[in-house]
Every structure is written in structure tokens, then in C-alpha cells.
């Protein structure tokens, strides 16, 4: 039995299960008598559906059901609405939201869009039956580029949404920025692309659903990040039933990263089929379908402008973005490129004034929804790239101008032009510590050796500032068992991050009970009344604080029983190190003994029952917290081939209080690896007709272990936030936020003797080689011109 503390690197208790094949993922769940469902997906990016003839499929032996869009509408089911927090255009009008049904209705608008559901006795039969559904399409012109989609003559996706425009959003001080631009010594402009990528969780999406006619209730197992919110959408928006009629459970989930945050069409289709057929139905996406039907992220084209004086002082920042969000408004699709990307513009720098404008645009591609960071990596990339670019244009030292403009701690709390309330932190200290760890002064000899070998050395430092997000409330329930076990049920969710360890550690540390006694439960709508699931780096900030709050309530309840056992008054007891102590008599009783006594009728007072220590607690966040930190990267580049090798990576993060540094390290490393992947090899590419070119792992370049360097990771714990009782700031996405500019700027540093000042990501070897060939010739105002 182990005593644990907060801040201890407790090893992950779930790993043995995961690493020995005993995880229980969606495909491990099989219900008695289940049928298998497969989705027929559109092969056109834009086409009218003239007719669907499913008679061939229905005649096939083993085929049980075919559902089309017409069937779906005839049942009266509703569309799935977006839950974006940003809903207003600049002029105050509402955003444009077309109906997003579970199946295409009369027209398809992206390759991969669900056209029909086929249910059969087995998965192979269902897949074979897809070929026997005859869909008569009339092809229409498609547009997959957001800037092109805004052009007057662009193909129109929606008859009642002119110009393909979903929302035209702005934030900040437009006039103030214009004034600063007029006054500053220089205004530096750079157009840049944040390429479209997808998360590729190791476990594809899938679900298993059943319907019980006696109770008129559904049971849905789903590989999702958010059981409560998605249950609500299915019940309230799609089926029009009470949400209690659906029990939604996520088993072990093999990675989410935002991809599994969305309300997808397949789970409601599966529930409908299960009810219609009177037997459970299972659906599992394969990898090829995942590339087409999973949500993608980033995908922004921006013009970034920095007003800067001769001495390097930042005067103002202005960003103008155009972002394709797919053909529909997905769960928070319109939010990411608007509010999500606006809030952390300017990073940890002292910008007197900022302005952000963004247009979210409908295009003939699959869905866009959050991907690890959801706007903050984009904002940080824009801010750090324009700073690096300005330094090169003006001949300033990129390290010095960052140092000069970082917000000083005495300026905090500070509310930015973007409305972000930065409460605490020490950005200069974190910056200097990162520089000290990386020690760029020591690289000279190595850089020389690398140059002798024909390659070039590069280094860059990238401070970042981000913010948490996700649902503002969280629940934690604690229930004690007579056998000594402590059941902890939390509404936040781990999709691999290790909450089974960290949440249990937090509860055990607060109560002073053995870590092993805590049994962790999550992601079941019957187990917690509310739950915000996973997203926005909210696990510790919401779930952790809920656990801490529940622990406080248990201690409060237990103190009454402890007083009874010690024959003291509760008011005279202190709780420390897992024991209640009477400050007068010095007598003490441990929490473990109190818990035991709560199940012992001999020791329980008459007015208490076994289970009297159980509690359920809802924590509500006052304000989002502000994680921040600094990344640094060292690279070598081969100018003859364009190949890039990461040599070193350093991170100092301010996540406030660290509950478990081992798990925090894992979050940082994973996020940095995904950032490296995006800027070097990952890229979603469509051809002109809207077909996905990078639809498999043969063409979509995920980062590999041999391409990710060892990382030096430290935490600055000198500024725990007062925005929540634990003082935590959220660790899940920061690795992705800082790594994009750190790696790109290091590569551009390596290429400076060739005059290369900008390359759009991903930095493929050919692009790097060509930039060297072209001696840096590039158009700083090229990409977005057509949309301004």
C-alpha cells in the first residue's frame, strides 16, 4: 500500500493493462446478436443525388437494412447543431448554419460524406453490399480552398448562404491598431499558411448500440471524448427524446486529440438501426474511412502584420485569417478559427493594442473541428513567425527583440486587447531558463562541424502563451466500499493521458489513503450527472478541482465521525497527513480508520449510515487559466536535399501546480511530437476535384520515434493560478502550441545564409531545397491577397 503526494511522479497504473493487450477498446465490445453496420460514403466532393437504388443490396443474403437520407428525413430526425460559443458576425448578425443531418439529403458536399447506412449479419457482407447500392449522382463544381471559395465566381455550397461565408468575426481594437500602424517606424507583413492536418488516433472511431423496447432506452458504447454533450445532441437534437433515454459509455479510448470531440453521424445511425432491427448494431471505421470522415484541424491562411519601432519595440499586431471549415458547421467548427484563434494572439508579449479578423468559409471537404490546441497553436505560430520574420527583415536579434517585449510580471494581472485575462506568470524568467538549458552559446563548434559536413545548424526559441477551454463545470463522485475500496467517478475523461493514475493520486493524497484503493471511473452518463469529457486541456483544471473539492467534502463529513470516535468536537480536530487530531487531547484517528468505522455499526453513531462519507461534488470554473512557457529547438538542415534533422529540444512550462510530473512530461512530449509532425511531414492534400490525396499512412507522414529528439523538460511552479483552488493551468495542448514556431524558426535560422526568410509548412524536403535554390525568393503577400 502506497502513500502518494501531489507532485510525485507516480507511474501510470493503467499502462500494464494497455501494454499487455488488456485494454478494453470499442472493438473489444460485442453484444449478443449484434449486426454490423457500414457507411456508404460519397465519392464526389460536390454532386446532386438524383436517385438511390438499394434494391441490389437489400436482395443480398445477410443484408438486413439500408437507410438513406430520405428515410432519415421521413423519420423526422433533426440535424446536429453547432455549439460554437462565437455566433455573431462583425455586423452583429447571426452566423450562417446549414442543417447537418446524419445522411446527405439530396446533395453531397464532400468526399466521404455519409450517403447511406448498410446493416448486415457480418462486416464483410455489409462492405460487399456497398457495391450493390446504385447512387445516381450529377457532379457539380467543387471548391476546396477557402480563399478561392470567397471569390465571386466560386462554386456555391448552399443555395441560401451567399459567398460560402459562415461567419465574419472580429475582436480587438481596430482603430487603435490603425493608429499604431501609422505611427510605428515599420509595419512588417507576412502571409502564411497553417496547413490542414488530422490527428490519426491509433484507435479509429467506432460504436456499438442497442435498444431496449421494455424501457424504451438506448445503450451506446462509443469511442468518444465527450459522452454527456454528445448524448445531449443525440437525444435533444436528433431523436427528440429525453436525454435520460440514452446511456452513453466510452470504454478505453485509444487517443482523441479533439478528433473524438465531435458529434458524428454514425452513432445516431447505429442507434436507429438497433431499434429498427431489434438487435444490437456495431460499426467500426477503418483507417481509410477515418482519413475521409474524421475531423481535421488547423487549415488557416493568414496575413499577419506587426508594427514595430527601430529599437525593436512592438507597437501593434493585426491578423486577418481565412479558414475553410468543411461543408457544414461541425460541433465547434466555426469557433476554432474565430474565438479559438483570437484569444491568445500576441502571446506573452506586451502589445499595447491588437486586432483580429477571421472568416470561416464553407468548402467541399470533410469536417474541421478541434485538433489539439484548437486555435492557440495557430495564434502562437502567427505571432512567433511575424516576430522572427520582422527580426530578419530589420536585422534585429530574434532573441533580443523577444526578451525586450515580453510582458513583465509586475504588469500582471493584465487584460489583453483580445479580452484574455492574464493573471500570473513570469515570462522573462521562463524565457531565460529555457535559454540557459538550451545554451545556444555552446553550439558554435558543433555548428562549424555540421557546416564542414555540408549541412547547416539552426536554433530558435519560441515563448508561448495559451489558455484552457472546454465545459466550465465538472463533477466528481466518491463512494466508499465496505471492502476498503474507494470508487472515484469523474466527468472529465482520459483518452490515454493517465487520469486513472493522476486523479486517483490526487484523491489519495488529499485523503491520506492508499493509492491502490482508489478505483477510477469515467465516461458513463449513468455514473456522473454531468461531465465535460476531454478537451481544452481541462482534465486537471476541471476534473482535478472537482476531485479536490469532493475530497474536501469527504474530509468534512469524516471529521464528524472522527470526532465521535475520538469523543471530541469536530471543531477541535485538525486533518493532516491522513489523520484527524484533537488539538487538545492529542488523540488521533486516521482517515482509513474513519472509513472502516463508517461501515461498522458498533462504531457508527445512530444518526449515520454506512456510506455516510460518500459525496458528489460539482466544481465550476470561474475563469479559464493561462498556461505558458517557452520552447527551443536545434536542427540541422541539408541544403543539398532539404532534409531536416532535429538535434535538440528544450521546454520550460508554467502549468501552475504540477500534480504528476511524469504524466505532464508525457503530455508535453506527445504535443511536441505532433507539432513536429505537422511542420515537417503531415499534410492533408486534396486534388482540384476534391479527392483526398493523402488518404493513407503511405502518404500522410506521421512523425516517428526516430525523428523526434530527446527533450529536456522543466516546470516553473512559482506562479500557481488563483483562478482555481488547485492552482493548475492545464497541460494537455501546450506541447503542440509551442512546437510549431520553434521548429520552423530553427529551420529558417539554419537557412539564413541562403537568404531564406519564409517557407510555408509543412517544410517538406523539396520546399526547403527549392527555397535554397531560389535564394529565398518568396512573396510575403501572396496567399490571401484574393480574399482581402
Amino acid at each position: 500500500m502506497t502513500d502518494v503526494t501531489i507532485g510525485q511522479p507516480v507511474r501510470r497504473s493503467e499502462d500494464e493493462r494497455f501494454l499487455t493487450g488488456r485494454g478494453r477498446y470499442i472493438d473489444d465490445i460485442n453484444l449478443e446478436g449484434q449486426a454490423r453496420a457500414v457507411v456508404l460514403r460519397s465519392v464526389y466532393a460536390h454532386a446532386r443525388i438524383k436517385n438511390i437504388d438499394a434494391s441490389g443490396a437489400l436482395a443480398m443474403e445477410g443484408v438486413l437494412l439500408v437507410v438513406t437520407g430520405e428515410d432519415w428525413i421521413a423519420e423526422g430526425f433533426g440535424p446536429m447543431p453547432t455549439k460554437t460559443a462565437i455566433r455573431k458576425n462583425r455586423d452583429g448578425s447571426e452566423l450562417s448554419e446549414p442543417p447537418r443531418h446524419c445522411l446527405a439529403i439530396g446533395r453531397v458536399r464532400y468526399v466521404g460524406e455519409p450517403v447511406a447506412l448498410v446493416v448486415a449479419e457480418t462486416d464483410p457482407i455489409a462492405r460487399d453490399a456497398l457495391d450493390l447500392i446504385d447512387v445516381d449522382y450529377e457532379s457539380l463544381d467543387a471548391v476546396t480552398d477557402a480563399v478561392e471559395a470567397l471569390a465571386p465566381d466560386a462554386p456555391q455550397l448552399w443555395d441560401d448562404i451567399p459567398g460560402n461565408l459562415c461567419i465574419d468575426f472580429e475582436l480587438g481594437d481596430r482603430e487603435g491598431v490603425e493608429k499604431a500602424f501609422a505611427e510605428a517606424d515599420h509595419v512588417i507583413t507576412l502571409d502564411l499558411e497553417n496547413n490542414r492536418v488530422t490527428a490519426v488516433p491509433i484507435e479509429p472511431r467506432g460504436c456499438v448500440g442497442s435498444y431496449d423496447p421494455e424501457t424504451d432506452t438506448y445503450l451506446l458504447y462509443n469511442s468518444t471524448q465527450n459522452v454527456h454533450a454528445i448524448r445531449d445532441t443525440l437525444a435533444e437534437n436528433v431523436f427528440g427524446i429525453d436525454k435520460e433515454k440514452i446511456r452513453h459509455i466510452a470504454p478505453d479510448v485509444g487517443g482523441g486529440f479533439g478528433v473524438k470531440n465531435s458529434a458524428y453521424p454514425e452513432p445516431p445511425l447505429v442507434l436507429y438501426a438497433a431499434k429498427k432491427l431489434g438487435r444490437p448494431v456495431k460499426w467500426i471505421n477503418n483507417r481509410s474511412e477515418s482519413f475521409l470522415s474524421d475531423t481535421h484541424g488547423r487549415g488557416q491562411t493568414s496575413r499577419v502584420q506587426l508594427a514595430i519601432d527601430n529599437d525593436g519595440t512592438f507597437r501593434a499586431l493585426r491578423t486577418e485569417t481565412v479558414a475553410g471549415i468543411g461543408a457544414y458547421c461541425w460541433t465547434i467548427g466555426p469557433f476554432t478559427p474565430t474565438g479559438g484563434s483570437a484569444r491568445t494572439q500576441g502571446g506573452p508579449y506586451d502589445f499595447p493594442v491588437m486586432y483580429y479578423r477571421s472568416r470561416a468559409v464553407f468548402i467541399n471537404t470533410g469536417p474541421m473541428d478541434p485538433y489539439r490546441g484548437a486555435g492557440r497553436p495557430e495564434a502562437t505560430f502567427q505571432t512567433e513567425r511575424i516576430i522572427e520574420y520582422a527580426a530578419r527583415q530589420l536585422g534585429l536579434d530574434p532573441i533580443e527583440i523577444r526578451r525586450k517585449n515580453l510582458m513583465r510580471p509586475e504588469k500582471l494581472p493584465h487584460k489583453t486587447s483580445m479580452g484574455l485575462n492574464i493573471d500570473c506568470g513570469d515570462f522573462p524568467k521562463v524565457f531565460e531558463r529555457t535559454l540557459k538549458l538550451a545554451d545556444p552559446g555552446s553550439f558554435a563548434e558543433r555548428a562549424e562541424q555540421i557546416k564542414t559536413a555540408g549541412r547547416r545548424f539552426g536554433f530558435a526559441i519560441a515563448p508561448y502563451l495559451e489558455c484552457t477551454g472546454g465545459g466550465p463545470k465538472e463533477f466528481a463522485g466518491v463512494a466508499f466500499g465496505a471492502d476498503g475500496t474507494v470508487s472515484l467517478s469523474v466527468g472529465s475523461q482520459s483518452t490515454g493521458m493517465g487520469h486513472e493514475t493522476s486523479m486517483a493520486q490526487l484523491l489519495a493524497a488529499r485523503l491520506g489513503i492508499p493509492f491502490e484503493r482508489v478505483e477510477y471511473h469515467q465516461a458513463d452518463t449513468d455514473k456522473t450527472p454531468i461531465g465535460g469529457g476531454h478537451g481544452g486541456s481541462r482534465g486537471m483544471e476541471l476534473g482535478g478541482n472537482a476531485v479536490a473539492q469532493a475530497a474536501g467534502e469527504v474530509i468534512e463529513k469524516a471529521s464528524g465521525l472522527a470526532a465521535h470516535l475520538l469523543q471530541s468536537k469536530a471543531a477541535d480536530l485538525t486533518f493532516e497527513g491522513g489523520s484527524f487530531k484533537d488539538s487538545g487531547s492529542g488523540a488521533s484517528v486516521s482517515m482509513v480508520e474513519v472509513i472502516e468505522a463508517s461501515f461498522d455499526s458498533e462504531r457508527l453513531p445512530d444518526d449515520l449510515e454506512p456510506g455516510c462519507l460518500d459525496t458528489g461534488s460539482t466544481f465550476e470554473r470561474g475563469e479559464i487559466s493561462i498556461p505558458n512557457g517557452c520552447h527551443a529547438a536545434a536542427v540541422e538542415v541539408d541544403p543539398k536535399t532539404g532534409a531536416i534533422l532535429l538535434l535538440g529540444y528544450w521546454v520550460v512550462d508554467d502549468f501552475g501546480t504540477i500534480i504528476n510530473p511524469l504524466l505532464a512530461d508525457g503530455q508535453v512530449m506527445g504535443g511536441v511530437a505532433q507539432g513536429i509532425g505537422q511542420v515537417l511531414t503531415e499534410n492533408i492534400v486534396f486534388d482540384d476535384s476534391g479527392q483526398l490525396i493523402t488518404g493513407s499512412l503511405m502518404d500522410y507522414g506521421l512523425p516517428r520515434a526516430d525523428g523526434v529528439p530527446d527533450m529536456v523538460i522543466e516546470y516553473y511552479e512559482g506562479a500557481p493560478t488563483k483562478k482555481n483552488p488547485l492552482g493548475v493551468k492545464g497541460a494537455g495542448e501546450a506541447g503542440c502550441v509551442g512546437s510549431l514556431p520553434a521548429v520552423v524558426n530553427a529551420v529558417l535560422d539554419a537557412l539564413k545564409e541562403f537568404g531564406v526568410v519564409h517557407i510555408d509548412i509543412p517544410l517538406t524536403s523539396e520546399k526547403v531545397w527549392r527555397a535554397v535554390q531560389d535564394q529565398g525568393a518568396h512573396d510575403p503577400k501572396g496567399l490571401i491577397e484574393g480574399a482581402l
Binding site: K640, T641, A643, L697, M698, D699, Y700, R704, S765, W769
Partner: protein, 270 residues
């Protein structure tokens, strides 16, 4: 995936008989291409004849002048083989750089050659080393084996049993890998065998090919400098989202130079 019969013969003769008994049979070697193609429904054979049970197709033997590798020998085994590392270290290095560990533990020399993917690594070694592809019917010199994209001189039902590699005086392989698949975007195998230099290029064209101008230059002077000024034409090269034809042409020159340097360094080291 369509249903098919599955057979696992013990001898080459049994394998041939099993193939002939099928209306549309297919040999299964390591399955690194065939299994994904089956899953996608792009191949629908009536039967699969799994070669994994045939001991005669396994193994590595070396004489002073020839290294013989059985067709069903995996890439991992070639990479780790002391015989290969001693006789033709470049071949061991090539095998160790194919795909990833999972691919190397399943994929085989014979499977790679019979498939003749234009981006595969082994064809470059076979062509540059002037190896002989031995089948259950005949001996096919490398120059006559690779006939086009995914095309070889193999007849219907003809089975590769071994490949005989001449031991080279100098040899090395340099490849620029596709970041996703790790197939060659441009791979160049350079070898000097019995005084003659051969340069084979894979990944860049519609199939493996020899670079005659480079061979002539290296025949005169086996140094990377000798390649300077030789422009590779992009006319017949392939282009995709990972690399244009022009970039591939450039990479062929860079990889060839690096292969020559490595070949000379290998000798120096030994």
C-alpha cells in the same frame, strides 16, 4: 475481401502444383503488398499459396565470389546476417533500411523482386550488382528481369527460388526516403564488380533503371567528383505530392555521389 482458398505447401514442386490447380492463384511471400491489396478488394485470387512453409526458399550462403540469398529470406534476416555483412555490406544496409521493423520482419527478397514496385529498394541492388534471379525454371540475369512498372520477366506461375549476388569490390546504396512510407523517393545503388561499374536508380522512374552516363564516368574514376556536371534528365521521372520530377532528378545526382563516397569509405574501413 473475397473468400479464397489457402494452401501452405512444403516444397517448390508442391507450390507449383498448387498454383496450377487454381483458376487464379497467387503466391503469398511476406504479404507486405498483397495483403493490403486483398483487403482493399483490388486483388481477388481464387487461392493463396503461402510460401512460408518451404524450407528450400530460406537461407543465406556465401562463397568467395557469390552470395546466395533464398527468396523467402526476410529483410531483417538479410540485414542481420554476418555473411551478408561480410560479403556485401551495402546489401545488408539496404535491407536494414526498408520500411520499418514490422515490414522487415515479414517482407522477403523474392516478394520484393516479383512485385517490382518502382520505389522498392531491392531492385536497385539486384540490377547494380548484376545479380542472377534463379527461378524454379531458369536463371534470369538482372538486366533482363525488370521489364516495367510492377512487371518482370517471370512467367505465370514461375517462382523465384534464390538470388545470386556477385561479391562486389565496392558497393553502396544511398536513398532519400519518402517521409511517410519510407519507400525510395530516389535511391541509388552503386557497385563495381569485376572492374565494371554499374549504377542503378530506384524510386525516381517508372521502374529501376541504370544510369549509363554515371557508369561511364565512374568507370574512369570511381570518385564522387567524377559525377559532377552530369545532369539527370527529369523527362522520364515520376512526380507526386512528395517530390516533383525535377527534384527527383536532382536527388539522383546527390544520392549517387553519396553512394560512391560510402562505397569508397566501406573499403577504407575494411
Amino acid at each position: 475481401m473475397q473468400d479464397f482458398e489457402y494452401q501452405k505447401p512444403k516444397t517448390v514442386t508442391e507450390a507449383g502444383d498448387a498454383f496450377n490447380a487454381q483458376s487464379d492463384g497467387s503466391f503469398l511471400a511476406g504479404g507486405q503488398t498483397l495483403i493490403p491489396v486483398l483487403k482493399q478488394g483490388l486483388a481477388m485470387p481464387s487461392g493463396l499459396i503461402d510460401l512460408a512453409g518451404i524450407e528450400d526458399l530460406q537461407g543465406i550462403t556465401a562463397t568467395e565470389s557469390t552470395l546466395t540469398v533464398g527468396a523467402m529470406t526476410t529483410h531483417a534476416r538479410v540485414a542481420a546476417s554476418p555473411e551478408v555483412q561480410k560479403a556485401i555490406p551495402a546489401l545488408a544496409g539496404l535491407a536494414g533500411g526498408i520500411g520499418d521493423p514490422q515490414v522487415r520482419n515479414r517482407g522477403t527478397l523474392g516478394g520484393s523482386l516479383a512485385n517490382n514496385d518502382p520505389s522498392a529498394d531491392y531492385p536497385a541492388a539486384v540490377l547494380a550488382l548484376s545479380a542472377v534471379v534463379v527461378t524454379d525454371k531458369r536463371r534470369i540475369p538482372a538486366d533482363g528481369f525488370f521489364t516495367g512498372m510492377f512487371e518482370t520477366a517471370l512467367d505465370e506461375g514461375e517462382l523465384i527460388t534464390d538470388v545470386e549476388f556477385p561479391v562486389a569490390e565496392r558497393a553502396a546504396y544511398a536513398k532519400f526516403p519518402n517521409p511517410a512510407s519510407r519507400y525510395a523517393v530516389a535511391g541509388v545503388f552503386v557497385a563495381r564488380v569485376d572492374g565494371a561499374v554499374r549504377v542503378a536508380v530506384t524510386g525516381a522512374g517508372p521502374g529501376v533503371f541504370r544510369a549509363a552516363e554515371m557508369e561511364a564516368a565512374l568507370d574512369k574514376d570511381f570518385q564522387a567528383d567524377a559525377l559532377e556536371g552530369i545532369a539527370v534528365s527529369e523527362a522520364d521521372l515520376i512526380a507526386d505530392i512528395h517530390a516533383s520530377a525535377g527534384y527527383r532528378a536532382h536527388l539522383i545526382g546527390v544520392m549517387a555521389g553519396r553512394a560512391v563516397d560510402a562505397a569508397n569509405a566501406n573499403v577504407g574501413a575494411a
